[in-house]
Amino acid sequence: MNFIKELLSDKNKVSQNLKKIFWIIGSLLFLVGFYGWAVRLIDGHIKANYGSIVTWGLWVAAYIYFIGLSAGSFLVSSLVYVFNYKKFERIGKLAVFTALITLLMALLSIWADLGHMGRAWHVMIYPNFKSPMAWMIYLYLIYMLLLVFEIYYLLRYDFVIGANNETLKGKLYKILSFGSKDKSEESRLRDKKIVKVLATAGVPIAILFHGGVGALFGVVAARPHWHSGLFPILFLLSALVSGGALLTLISSIFQEGWTKNREIVIDLGKMVLGLLLLDILFQISEFLIVYRGGIPGHIAGWDLVIKGPYAWVFWGWQGFVGTLIPLFLLTLKRKSPQWVALAGLLIAAGIFGLRLNIVIPGLAVEEIHGLTSAIYSHRVDPHYFPSLSEWLLTFGIVGFGMLLFGLGEYFLPKEDESKTELLSESKV
């Protein structure tokens, strides 16, 4: 206990230690991921535990989770670049960068889930405009390009200035500036305008693609657990909650952590609390309508969630760890950034439980009574628990994302840095 107290008392040490912990966890997860990827690439789907009843498993849940984080953090960044919310300006770039990394993680997860990874490009040459999945893929492409351009124009000026240095960073900046040498104030203003245009265009796209993921599930009339008009909205809300929560955590670890980002962490905490309450309201509404409606097929999915074999995901993971504790922290400890950051971590983790509880129970209900006992095969089983290789591949993607993010945070120019450099430039 004393050790922890000591750790917490020296605030600079804390943020450094948190970064160290981040790098250690990220590297470990990245390394264990190799096993999962090796199994996936060598054995295909044989070692995965889903089958022809529960056709989507952990990887799909991970995909909708990551894509939610991306949409959420992008929408938070739009507060800065579209709605000019000055308070969050310091973490604006961080939020856009997070959106890009989590998008890559989402695409990796869903790519691993494909039966034919090498055929992903078929969506481009054989489009079916009736399929929500096809819409998603086109939107992701547009969104990814938009994010790359937005980051470029956000950082171009910093790259140009940093390119003068002979350090490794300087060389990297020279490459990343793509030959741009314009240091004038006008160019800076032009960049700002471009960013505003891109960020504004990004808002409807982010809403479309994540609401669209909700619709991807919602339109499936065969699965009553998904077939609800609330689904696209629920997806958006939980995206905002998880994205906001992740940014709360990130901004209290990076950029000197919560010592410098204190106000931002606390403000983000307030925002996340509001969104979380709204999300809970929507969830309860869905729950009540289903149970009061009383149609057996509709109830079956929810029955699995609240009293099935994996009810602990709902009550323990999503409910207690991911909702109840953070609610207490965000209301009772709302003034202390380290507790708010912890709440952010718990909420972000809890939403993963929520994503699992969307994908699996929707599929684990027999579509035709008696079907799963008609054939003896482990592929015809409504019980699903991810296999080791499924878990490790998912961890690997998380680790990969963390390392990419850490490297980006280390190498990319920070808000303060460019300002001090700007000052020194102007002195010269």
């Binding site: 022809s52 056709t55 989507w56 039966g115 034919h116 079916n128 399929s131 079907l371």
Partner: protein, 280 residues
């Protein structure tokens, strides 16, 4: 477009009383008000929607389907095995299954057995969701197929099928193939492609489903029961419970059975309009 709407408006205004009533019942109480103001936009719109879903005339050569007699089915599962032997499906992939429903208070406690192939729905939800149009309903005979060379294995169609008629091929081999017996040299004749269960040859990583054994069709798309070119499950059924045929032909076995007997279709409320009927 405007002309079309005018045409439809004309149609609706000169509607007879009986037609009007039957339409009311068809469309349902929800759109009652819309139908009453049938000259208005709402009426036109609801008519358009109804037309697109239910009144499209079926213009195709053959309309294949099955009629399965639940009174004759004894649950022997010969159809399941015949299907496996015909299509060489791997473990965990069964184009047809037999499930049983135990009804209480039924004389002599015989459960109801139902064999369930793919229903080749008139409005299949699986084909609409496929992001690469790898699965589609064939125009000439209404059989829903999967293009094994195009399918990316996303399994969205499996979630959309309300009847669990689709199966993912994990690449799990028969023991016969792993042990290198003669059986392993027998290719699967699906879609007349004759694919061996080897990498790159067999549809590993794809979604698979019943095809009404369409590899047994001749060039014109016809089956022939006398020559044995008939879906394996229907051919083998010991209780003669599975009837297969062309619904377009009024004299076919299946058409006659539907005229003479009581039938149900599963989950009709989803609007899929399956082409497999169960006699009760």
């Amino acid at each position: 477009m405007a002309e079309k709407i005018k045409e439809i408006e004309k149609e609706t205004s000169s509607i007879s009383r009986d037609e009007f009533l039957s339409k009311l019942i068809k469309i349902g109480a929800g759109t009652l008000a819309a139908t009453i103001v049938s000259n208005g936009m709402l009426g036109t719109a609801s008519k358009l929607i109804a037309k697109s879903k239910n009144e499209t005339p079926v213009k195709r050569k053959y309309h294949y389907g099955m009629v399965i007699d639940t009174r004759r089915c004894v649950g022997c599962r010969a159809c399941v095995l015949a299907c496996k032997a015909e299509n060489k499906t791997p473990p965990g992939v069964s184009y047809t299954v037999v499930f049983e429903e135990i009804l209480e208070n039924r004389p002599n406690d015989k459960p109801v057995f139902m064999t369930k192939p793919c229903f080749h729905c008139e409005y299949p939800p699986c084909t609409d969701v496929c992001p690469v149009s790898a699965t589609y309903k064939r125009e000439q005979d209404g059989i829903v197929v999967v293009d094994y060379d195009r399918c990316i294995g996303c399994r969205y169609c499996m979630t959309a099928c309300p009847y669990s008629a689709r199966w993912f091929d994990f690449g799990e081999n028969y023991p016969a193939i792993e042990q290198g017996t003669d059986w392993s040299n027998v290719p699967s004749p699906e879609y007349k492609q004759f694919r061996k269960r080897e990498h790159e040859q067999s549809p590993i990583g794809n979604v698979r489903k019943c095809t009404f054994c369409l590899h047994l069709q001749d060039e014109e798309g016809k089956y022939n029961k006398a020559e044995g070119r008939w879906p394996a499950c229907a051919k083998t059924c010991t209780g003669k419970a599975i009837h297969f045929g062309d619904f377009n032909d009024p004299n076919s076995e299946v058409s006659i059975l539907l005229r003479e007997r009581q039938y149900i279709r599963l989950k009709e409320e989803l609007g899929t309009s399956p082409n497999v009927y169960y006699l009760i």
